[in-house]
Every structure is written in structure tokens, then in C-alpha cells.
Amino acid sequence: MSFWRIKDYWPDPNTNLAQDWYDLQEDEVQAEFDIAVILLAATVDWSKLPGFIPRKGRYTGLYEIVVDVKLPYEKKKRHYRPIGIWRPDSQDFIILLVCEKNGKTYDPSLDTALSHKRAWEQERKGDIHDHKF
């Protein structure tokens, strides 16, 4: 049984950025993402967890989950990064969006994630719903 609840941020009633990203991925990426999220949700202590990175500096308050995927037909790993808000008191993690990381570049950018965080926390825009596994 999951210890943490994984949720998705919906900037508007018709948009779930995490789900939109997921739906566009190959089956292999979806499978890796699913297992990564399931195991994370069943991990009690995330504070020293390899693959769970608190962002610093101007992105403080954002958290990054490392989901590296090695596809059988590609030489290099792909680096996906669900970015979100970790709320230990509520025992949940809200996925704002999922980026692909290449070197130090995030696509979409961490600024986009930050703008969603501000919209949700400060402007009360959008909504959160349970992540649909």
C-alpha cells in the first residue's frame, strides 16, 4: 500500500500536464515511469533518497524525481524529471510537469514549473487531483 499520495497539477480544468506528457510517451517510458512512481510512493523516507533532488537557489521549493530510461533500441539513456512540490505534512507529492533533461537543460524549463508552483500556491489557480495510475 502506498505511503505517499502522488497528485497531478491541473492548471485548468482540461489540462493535466503530467498525464498529457505520459500519454505521448512510448510504452517503455510509460512502464519505467509507472514503476518509478509506485516504488517512490511506497518509500517512507524521501529525505536521503537517491533520485529525489531538492532544487536550490531560485528554484527552492521545487523537487525533482530522477527517472532515467534505457530503451532497448537506443544507446543512451533518456533522462526524465517529474518536477513537483513535496508536502511531507500532507504526505503527498504534486507533479507540476515532467521535463526531459539534456545536460543542464530542462525541457520544459524549470521556470515553467516554478510559474505553475506560484500559480497554485499564491494565485490559487488550477487544481490538484490524484495521479491516475
Binding site: M1, S2, F3, R5, I6, K7, E26, D27, E28, V29, Q30, A31, E32, D34, I35, A36, V37, I38, L39, A41, A42, T43, V44, D45, L49, P50, G51, V66, V67, D68, V69, K70, L71, P72, D130, H131, K132, F133
Partner: protein, 154 residues
């Protein structure tokens, strides 16, 4: 997020490619998950386990990282040996995998060491003839198996 057997099974029906990667990801990530859960429960540091397993702390660190993914059976067996626990790598049907994932919890992946099992599971003898020897605990059922054993001993 509701994770249950039916939902996982539904996902597995998506495609063979999905299933293959699901198996690969589970194989890669479940050992680090269980290792961290066992070490945490026992308050064991990476340094301590490294000494017990006669390998470097860096190897333990990589083994505990779910994104590493290059662990060899040799390394796994050394680490498990350091814990004085057993390891079985088996081919299983997808229903087993789905059950494992659906029931996943840190408590459920805890395992006894050999000494812990041996103390609680003595061989009853009449003279030199063993009358009863307890079977190993089913994976994830340590609590109930130990309770049953305590009752027998009393």
C-alpha cells in the same frame, strides 16, 4: 493514486513492450528499494554493510540507487551475504509481479537474518531424529510465520 492488482494487470495488457520494460524497471529498482528498507529498519550504515559484505561503500551506495541499474548478480549476492540473508532469482508469471507491486510496502520487504530465523526455529528432536523442521518464511509473511513459530515453541 490507486494501485491494485486489477489496475496493474490492466496496464500490463497494454503491450509486450510495456511488459518487458515493466519487468526491467522492477528488476532494476526493487533491489535498491528492499536494500534501503532493510538497512533503515536495522539502523545499518553503508559503511557497516560494506564491511560485512567485504566490498566498498561505493558499491553499496550504487546498489541502493534505483537509477543505477548495472548491478551484477555477483554484487547482489555479496551484499545479501553481508546481511546474512538469502536471495532467490526466479522467473515468475506476470500475476506474481502484479501481486508484488500491488502489495508493496517497506514492512512487507523486511527479511530475517539466518541467526534470527535459527533462534526462533529450533529443530525438535527425539534422540538424534529430527521430528520437525520449519520451512523458510514465505516472502513478505515474516510476522505471521514468526508468530506461528513462537506459539509452537511455547
Amino acid at each position: 493514486m490507486t494501485i491494485n492488482f486489477e489496475r496493474i494487470w490492466q496496464k500490463l495488457t497494454k503491450s509486450k513492450r510495456y511488459r518487458a520494460q515493466f519487468v526491467s524497471a522492477q528488476a532494476k529498482r526493487s533491489f535498491p528499494y528492499q536494500l534501503r528498507a532493510i538497512m533503515k529498519k536495522r539502523g545499518m550504515s553503508q559503511e557497516t554493510l560494506a564491511k560485512q559484505a567485504d566490498i566498498s561503500q561505493g558499491v553499496i551506495s550504487r546498489a541502493a540507487n534505483p537509477n543505477y541499474g548495472n548491478l551484477t548478480i555477483n554484487t547482489i549476492v555479496k551484499i545479501v551475504g553481508g546481511l546474512d540473508m538469502a536471495y532467490i532469482g526466479l522467473i515468475v508469471p506476470f500475476s506474481e509481479l502484479a501481486k508484488w507491486v500491488a502489495n508493496l510496502s517497506e514492512e512487507g520487504v523486511q527479511v530475517s537474518t539466518f541467526d534470527e530465523e535459527n533462534i526462533l526455529a529450533p529443530v525438535k528432536t527425539r534422540g538424534d531424529v529430527p521430528l520437525e523442521r520449519r520451512p523458510p518464511f514465505p516472502h513478505g509473511q515474516r510476522g505471521s510465520a514468526l508468530d506461528a513459530m513462537r506459539e509452537t515453541i511455547q
